[in-house]
């Protein structure tokens, strides 16, 4: 078990080692859904929820796999759990908020291939976090992911109003923006240890 405190883990995962801007996890939805605020925020929340569920399941699964000495199945087991968790979120959203379900469209099932979700499960295993530490880690990662997505979306909304040279438009510009944002987040270095 690692000795870090819960608040340290949370802050580090959310800010100093932000999943998107410092660890490059979950870039596909970060660039794909961040064009508009009203899809970015729900997408962030949905991903954060899947991260939480996946992290809890992964913790239990890891105990079980270690018990039976089946560690080589870890990756396959995690992926299957995440796919099921995504299915669950999809069903909940479809029932309670059909409008949002349509807005998120293709990106919902793609949370399965969001490396941030698998990243949470893999990193908590590699760092040998306890149950509460895993919980803090997944909550921090989800909060950090949502924060990055919302910041990026608001910047890109402003950008649509400005006059940008044609060559720069598109992904190149988004990447430059992300670079600046990532530089700003480097200011959090040291926070949470």
């Amino acid at each position: 078990m690692s000795p870090e405190s819960l608040s340290q883990i949370f802050l580090s995962a959310a800010l100093a080692n932000n999943f998107v801007l410092a660890m490059f996890l979950g870039l596909c939805p970060f660039l794909g859904v961040s064009a508009r605020m009203d899809t970015a925020f729900p997408m962030g929340l949905a991903s954060a929820f899947v991260m939480l569920v996946a992290s809890l399941c992964a913790f239990g699964l890891n105990l079980l796999l270690t018990l039976f000495q089946l560690e080589f199945l870890r990756l396959i087991a995690y992926i299957v759990v995440i796919a099921s968790a995504v299915q669950l979120v999809e069903m909940i959203l479809k029932k309670h908020s059909p409008a949002l379900f349509r807005a998120l469209g293709i990106y919902l099932p793609l949370i399965t291939t969001n490396c941030a979700v698998l990243g949470v499960a893999l990193f908590q295993t590699a760092r040998e976090y306890s149950f509460l530490q895993s919980l803090a880690f997944s909550l921090g990662a989800g909060a950090g992911f949502t924060l990055a997505l919302v910041l990026m979306a608001s910047m890109r909304e402003r950008l649509q109003l400005s006059d940008v040279p044609g060559v720069v438009q598109g992904t190149a510009l988004s990447l430059m923006l992300a670079g600046l944002l990532s530089m700003a987040f480097m200011g959090f270095a040291g926070l949470g240890g």
Binding site: F24, L75, I79, V168, G170
Partner: protein, 215 residues
Amino acid sequence: MKDISQARNFDEFMEGIWRQNPVFVMVLGMCPALAVTVSAVNALAMGFATTFVLVCSCLLVSLMRKLVPKEVRIATYIVIIATFVTVVDYVIQAVSLELYETLGAFIQLIVVNCIILGRAEAHASKHPPATAMLNALGMGIGFTIGLFALGGVREILGAGKLFGVSLFGANFQPWVVMVLPPGGFFVLGAWLLLFAAIRRKKGIPPAESKGCHVA
């Protein structure tokens, strides 16, 4: 007849390297592309690992394309991919522990690299094994070239070295931000800018990240 089929094979192979390059044109699989490319060696190792997984999974997916029911195909592909990633994970651990520790969890994260799932779904599931493997090999090499272009530039600018060999002598002041996370975004952005400029000159519309639209 033979000439035509040979030309087509060559086309399948070259598609991933140039016209549909996964890093510069399709802008796919960026998470590992940015995370591990702080040095040229890391970039090449990641590229080769991904290529191996890509070729093996596409071969298996192509062989099984008539057996797998349509409803469970994505799940099947993911399990196939995860199997090969586990193989690569253990092989790298056995060959070079040092490399294994630098790449860390990113080897296992090859599973969710959308290039692989994308190829399995869009190409391998519709083509015979030989074609699928050629196409996958081209994509893999294209991805490796892309990673090397990122890792090489970042290592030269950020550390003044290439493959660990110092290039500029003792007076070089390294541009440290290039090996830090923001540098990854900046270098990829700059490469995309270059490609956008080339495309514009040729009158092709600029590349737009389509994200991982596979399902």
